[in-house]
Structure formats: structure tokens, C-alpha cells
Amino acid sequence: MKVVDCKGLTCPKPVILTKKAIEDPDFDEIEVIVDNEASRENVRKYLQSANVDFNIEEKEGFFHFYAKKKGEVKKVDEPIVCSISNISVDQGLTYVISSDKLGVGDDKLGAMLMKSFIYSLTETAEKPGTVIFLNSGVKLTTEGSDVLDSLKKLEELGTEILSCGTCLDFYGLKEKLAIGTVTNMYTIVEKMNATKTIKI
């Protein structure tokens, strides 16, 4: 089976390479590998409109498409749009997460609600432009956090992830930051002033 390896490539490259392989007269079966969410969406959209059978498997952070001919391949001449369907990142929206628990009450419940909340962010259409983690919130962006996968997904889709440097230092997590970048209070204040801010 022919393999179209698109690791390290960003849109529109993976779609162009996939299209080339599919429209090749010898096309019967191919595997396409992409390494990011946006390419996965765009290759998926292309394969759907090209009228081929396919399935997607996620393996070690890579998305593998297995595409098979099912009849006449439809030539898709529409321009390739590098965006993810229905997903938008609102640069004017900031979330401030100031605890590793959601809400006030039982800690176990709070921790679970926070995981559920952050997972939901990955699935909703409108993403915040920035998510700022403060105080014990920085436990979510550092090694050992259960929500790193979700935060990685958000970051790939274009959300900026910021952690408060003072807080990382206080909790001894400075060397353990696993996602996003370190920020200071000036940046946090400026972000909050310049955008609609929701405190979680």
C-alpha cells in the first residue's frame, strides 16, 4: 500500500499530496499520515468529497487514514480551505482558570468537573483565544496533569495557553511546564483588559 507521509506538514500540503495520490490512475489503496488536528479535518473533508472509502486511526499522536477506492474517484476542484469546519478561535475571548478544581465544594468533585470542563472545550465550536492558568490552576498545565491531552488539542487549534510564572515558582513546578508558555501579571492584566474575560 502506498503511504503518503505528511508528518510535519501543515495545511494545505497534506490535502494536496492526498489529492495527488487519489487522482493517480493507479490509485487503489493508500495510507495518509498527518500529525495535527487541522490536517486531519481537511484530509477527511477532502476524502469525503472525493468519494472514497476510508477510516481514521489515531496511533501515538499521529492520524492514519486508510483510504480505498470504491468507484469512480470524484475530481474535487474547489479550492482547499485551511480551516476546521465550524471551529473558530475567538481572539477576543479569554478564560482565566484560577484553580485546578471547578467550583467551590468537594475537592474530588471539583477536580473531576475541571477535567470534564477542559475536555468539553476541545469539542465545542468556539474556542477562547487565550486560556490563562493562575494559582493552583498551573497544576493543570504541568507534568502529571490529567488534562494535557485536551490542552494540547486546544493549542493545536490555535488557543494560546499561558501559565502564571509566580504560581509555577510557588508550587515548585517551573521545570515541569508541559504545555504553553509562562506569563507574568502585566500580560495577564493586559489580556483581561483587552478581551472579554471569563473567570472559571
Partner: protein
């Protein structure tokens, strides 16, 4: 990618299940119970489909208490696993 969704009768069972999965080294993702399944603010856990046998064993051994298991993939169609 095929997944299993585990739903629960109570949030406490979900918390308990998360702890047990961690102990057993099974990767579980906390997520809200999809609206397709319930309207209430439920907590579910998603695990890889390959873990099905392990999950079944945990249920049989009384280690976790679940309401229902569903299989689902990319297209988010939830099919109960009997």
C-alpha cells in the same frame, strides 16, 4: 479510532472508577456524558476500545460500578455494548 464510553449511576462511582483505572494503568479520559445519551450533567469516562476486556473484568470483580458501556468512534454514534 474506536472508544468505549463508560457511564455511571452516580458521580461517586465515576470518581471511584477513575481511581481504579489509574491504579490499573488504564488511560481514562473524563468527559461530560454526551447529550445524545443524557440531558443531565453527567460525568463519563472514555477509554480505548482495546481495554474492553479489562473493563469487563473490573465490572465482574465488582471493582467498578457502571451504568452502561457504549462503543463510539469518530462519527460519535453511541452503541450500547451488551
Amino acid at each position: 479510532m474506536k472508544n468505549i464510553l463508560i457511564t455511571f449511576d452516580s458521580t461517586n462511582y465515576a470518581i471511584q472508577c477513575e481511581t481504579v483505572l489509574k491504579e490499573k494503568g488504564i488511560k481514562g479520559q473524563i468527559m461530560p456524558t454526551p447529550r445524545e445519551i443524557t440531558k443531565s450533567c453527567g460525568i463519563s469516562i472514555r477509554v480505548d476500545y482495546e481495554e474492553l476486556e479489562k473493563i469487563k473484568d473490573l465490572i465482574d470483580d465488582g471493582k467498578i460500578k457502571v451504568k452502561m458501556l457504549y462503543s463510539f468512534g469518530e462519527e460519535r454514534i453511541f452503541e450500547p455494548i451488551l
